[in-house]
């Protein structure tokens, strides 16, 4: 069974078995299962590959240190995701204060320098990779216009495809709050993504039905 599909309770029972070898295996599997989620969320929140890598590191170190205090009041995945989001938001705040001191490099410079990989682009042609990077940059510039509160909800619901209940569990709020923030985010984004959809040929059919959404 690959780490990605292994249920969390199995990872945790291995991790917390008390046997150092099994414990290491459990942690490693949890890392491989969730690192891409934390990296992708951190990248969308901070807009910086290097910062996102640091966030992944801090998140998993914290999870490793605090795992014995995890009481299971929320799902393990929600707890880990919440830690990652908090680190990413903290990092973004700190970096924004320092922008005047250290001008940031461009996105391309960052991504080639730190060696992070786009999972979905492995094996695709250079042309396709170029188009996908352009698409990503266009969306990223729109994401940055949303305030953090709304950005996080949209990312969890649509990018990570979590249910409303899971989003609420991550953010420790009610399902009603999640829906209300999502509603507001849709209002804020209205009309902004249409040109991106057109440019990259993502529109399938004109929709008026929820089934097509």
């Amino acid at each position: 069974m690959s780490a990605g599909s292994e249920p969390d309770h199995e990872l945790l029972s291995l991790w917390l078995s008390g046997d150092s070898k099994k414990s290491e295996q459990g942690f490693t599997r949890a890392y491989h299962k969730y690192q891409a989620r934390i990296m992708s969320l951190a990248l969308r929140i901070t807009g910086d590959h290097s910062a996102a890598g640091d966030v992944v590191q801090e998140t998993f170190i914290t999870v490793f240190e605090k795992i014995h205090g995890f009481r299971g009041q929320s799902l393990f995945s929600s707890w880990l995701t919440r830690i990652g989001i908090n680190f990413a938001l903290e990092r973004k705040r700190k970096d924004s204060r320092l922008v005047g001191f250290f001008p940031k490099g461009t996105e391309d410079e960052e991504s080639t320098a730190d060696g992070s990989e786009i999972e979905d682009l492995r094996g695709s042609s250079p042309e396709q990779q170029s188009v996908d990077r352009e698409f990503e940059a266009a969306v990223q510039s729109i994401i940055q216009r949303l305030s953090d509160k709304y950005k996080v909800v949209v990312l969890l619901r649509y990018m990570e495809e979590l249910s409303y209940e899971e989003v609420a569990d991550v953010l420790q709020c009610s399902v009603g709050t999640v829906k209300s923030r999502l509603n507001r985010a849709h209002k804020m984004l209205e009309g902004t993504l249409g040109p991106v959809v057109e440019k990259f040929g993502l529109r399938s059919q004109p929709t008026t039905s929820a089934n097509e959404l």
Binding site: Y31, Q35, A36, R37, M39, S40, L43, R44, H49, S50, A51, A52, G53, D54, Q57, E58, F60, I61, F64, K94, D95, R97, L98, F101, D114, G115, S116, E117, I118, E119, D120, L121, F135, E136, V139, L155, Y158, M159, E161, K179, L182, N183, A185, H186, K187, L189, E190, G191, L193, G194, V196, V197, L202, R203, T207, T208, S209, A210, E212, L213
Partner: protein, 163 residues
């Protein structure tokens, strides 16, 4: 059905989780209301675009660094993070000191401080000098008393010693 009803159930409608009767009514409204049609189409774009965003994997050195820090907890956190943590307080403190110094120098009303030397041996008799130099913590007379610095009303203030 009207725009307000759609607004109320917007997210559930997008999600397809509204009751069939409500869904039918909302769809009828949407087909006749250009503004609501635009809102629904735009929401569909949000969903399409975000689901299409590529997922990123952390670079391999991140896991190596984590393993290193776990096996040796004293290993420093990421360099940049550490440096940036220090920079703000240091820069802030330096700016504050500079501001205070420049204020002190430039202020025309800054008070002129004089250094006054006090000859503590002046006017003391030999017994008083002995008491002052003895450093006896239980001496009933204080150095301030000896030098005549204590106000009359302070001397009269009842203390625990008198109880």
């Amino acid at each position: 059905m009207n725009c307000k009803t759609l607004k109320l159930h917007f997210v559930d409608f997008l999600d397809g989780s509204v009751k069939p009767s409500l869904k039918e009514g909302l769809e009828q409204h949407i087909s006749s209301c250009p503004k609501c049609r635009q809102s629904v189409a735009s929401a569909a774009d949000v969903s399409t675009v975000f689901r299409r965003l590529p997922r990123h994997s952390a670079p391999p050195q991140v896991f190596q660094q984590i393993q290193k820090r776990i096996s040796n907890p004293r290993t420093a956190p990421p360099y940049k993070l550490q440096l940036r943590r220090l920079l703000v307080p240091v820069a802030g403190a330096a700016a504050l000191i500079l501001a205070l110094v420049s204020l002190e120098i430039s202020s025309p009303n800054a008070p002129v401080r004089e250094v006054v030397f006090i000859d503590i041996d002046r006017d003391l008799n030999s017994h008083q000098k002995e008491l002052l130099n003895s450093m006896d913590p239980f001496a009933t007379i204080s150095a301030a008393d000896l030098l005549g610095f204590t106000e009359e009303n302070e001397r009269d203030t009842p203390t625990d010693k008198g109880k």
